[in-house]
Symmetry: C2
Subunit: 320 residues, 2 copies
């Protein structure tokens, strides 16, 4: 019954960063979650969603992609969304960059005062997935990433994403050593935040622990980010295993939205992200502070379902 302001009140009053967290979750619904939605969501709705996500207390938010509008029409409004979102102390907005032109757009946005704080660059750990998903070889994609990193270095916090870090739908299981090699290449380019993408959702908790052991042992200065998909129902299990193994960062998406469509030949295409609403409840129950407002989180989950016009994959939202 103290009259002292709470940590959250203080942050509000002083414009300070969100409250402390043991685990930093990056909310990905606005990019990974929407990328393959057939309906184009208007920029105003995206902005409102991102403001709502920031209000919950997320300090890393995937906001859009600088993909070519012809390839990914959902994000033709990347600049409008970036311009429209209010900046807040301690909150990092991340935009996906598939090529050097995209990083140029991120730089132009930054020059305008409304750029993303983070950009993400992608490789696939396998040759087969690189060919099918990016339509080039791994050698070519690493050259592409090097060009992007040169443009982004000293301007953005760069996140390197390693896709198919566990299994490739074309080439089979990926050795942890291969993922470590890719992480080391990223680090050599100045990219020390590295997302481990379980693109087809085939990881298991023991493999997660094994991979993280390899990475932490060999590259202790990097920050690894758990990025799991729930295609087989193991997104929560794998993300919790990653956090218990020592990671402090994970990606997730409200409603378990997102993933790749059937045409990339991952089966029938359901590969949503780990569901934020359920992951946060589990982490908090395990004693990890996420720094998030659980009431606002639930309301945001409901808002995403309303926005997309269908029931999504959160279990806890159904529980009442």
């Amino acid at each position: 019954m103290s009259d002292l302001p709470s940590e959250a009140d203080l942050a509000e009053m002083t414009g300070a960063a969100p409250p402390a967290a043991d685990v930093v979750l990056c909310e990905c619904v606005a990019r990974d979650g929407l990328q393959h939605e057939s309906a184009i969501i208007p920029a105003a709705a995206k902005i409102a969603l991102i403001e709502r996500i920031a209000d919950i207390g997320f300090r890393r938010i995937e906001i859009s992609s600088f993909s070519h509008p012809k390839h990914v029409p959902q994000f033709a409004d990347a600049e409008a969304v970036l311009k429209g979102v209010r900046r807040r102390p301690g909150v990092l907005f991340k935009a996906t960059c598939p090529n050097p032109q995209a990083v140029e757009r991120a730089r132009a946005a930054q020059d305008g005062g409304w750029g993303p704080e983070e950009i993400s660059l992608l490789v696939s750990a396998s040759e087969g997935h690189t060919q099918k998903n990016l339509r080039r070889s791994r050698v070519e994609q690493w050259a592409n990433v090097a060009a992007m990193a040169a443009l982004g270095r000293d301007r953005f916090t760069m996140v390197g994403t390693i896709s198919v870090a566990f299994d490739c739908p074309f080439d089979g299981p990926i050795a942890p050593q291969r993922v470590l090699e890719d992480a080391e290449r990223f680090a050599a380019l100045g990219v020390t935040r590295i997302a481990l993408g379980d693109t087809i959702g085939s990881a298991t908790p023991p493999r997660v622990r094994d991979l993280i052991g390899w990475l932490h042992g060999a590259l202790p200065t990097a920050t690894f980010i758990a990025h799991f998909h729930d295609s087989r129902g193991t997104g929560i299990a794998n993300t919790l295993a990653a956090i218990e193994a020592g990671l402090t960062h994970a990606d997730c998406a409200l409603g378990g939205t997102g993933g790749h469509p059937a045409r990339i030949a991952y089966g029938e295409g359901f590969t949503g992200n780990t569901c934020t609403e359920d992951l946060v409840l589990a982490l908090e129950a395990m004693g990890y502070r996420t720094g998030l407002d659980l009431v606002a989180l639930r309301a945001a989950g409901e808002a995403v379902e309303a926005l997309l016009g269908r029931t999504l994959y959160s279990k806890s939202l159904r529980m009442g």
Copy 2:
């Protein structure tokens, strides 16, 4: 390219038990999964479902409940279902028994040559849940269980289920010591298969490991069974944690069906079982043998969705 018959062929030819398994899963859709369905499923459809489940290779199958038909009309056909299902070597059918009259029905069925091999007896670890769910005190329920165990002993393999083994929606967290006490009471009554029920789906992997450590250390002769609900999306995470902590038995239900309805005041009532289709894929990926036919399993998941007329909760079924 050997002409020798496979292990499964041999089992078929000789009428032997199903192939070896590291983890024995009890498929619960026919009882826990259907209990709160509003539509009454005809006995013939239940029998067809159970035969299909046995064909997959499950060696423990929850088949029905000897509840009073007035309270649980779904299982008014318990005798018809038990009579209708073909017995197979090495496959145990389990029926739920809420009171001594139910055990008398199980005994009568056994006398007729079509009884269940297992019966399950229930307690709640908390006073509050016992009062709300069973409408009596824990002292009264333990007296009820003792009467049932006396009738069932030497006739059936008895499974003792401890509900709310982690948290009670009325009394809060349950100490592992309380669960151990209940397990010891069951053991004293001759019940050495003990299911740990996470009734409201609030457990987390560290608590699962902690509880199992207590139980294995203090009661090494008992067989504990993981029985998790997916109300918060952690059913797979908790079941895998239990298996990794050393349990060899777990319960699950096709489609993640089942749970308790809103009127028992668990929130809004969604508390389905851990989804069989997804759990089996995860266990097999972790190198555990489940002894199950994965193609037949998938077809059974689709059959349950057709039977209930709606999409259920398996993620892997959506993946194609």
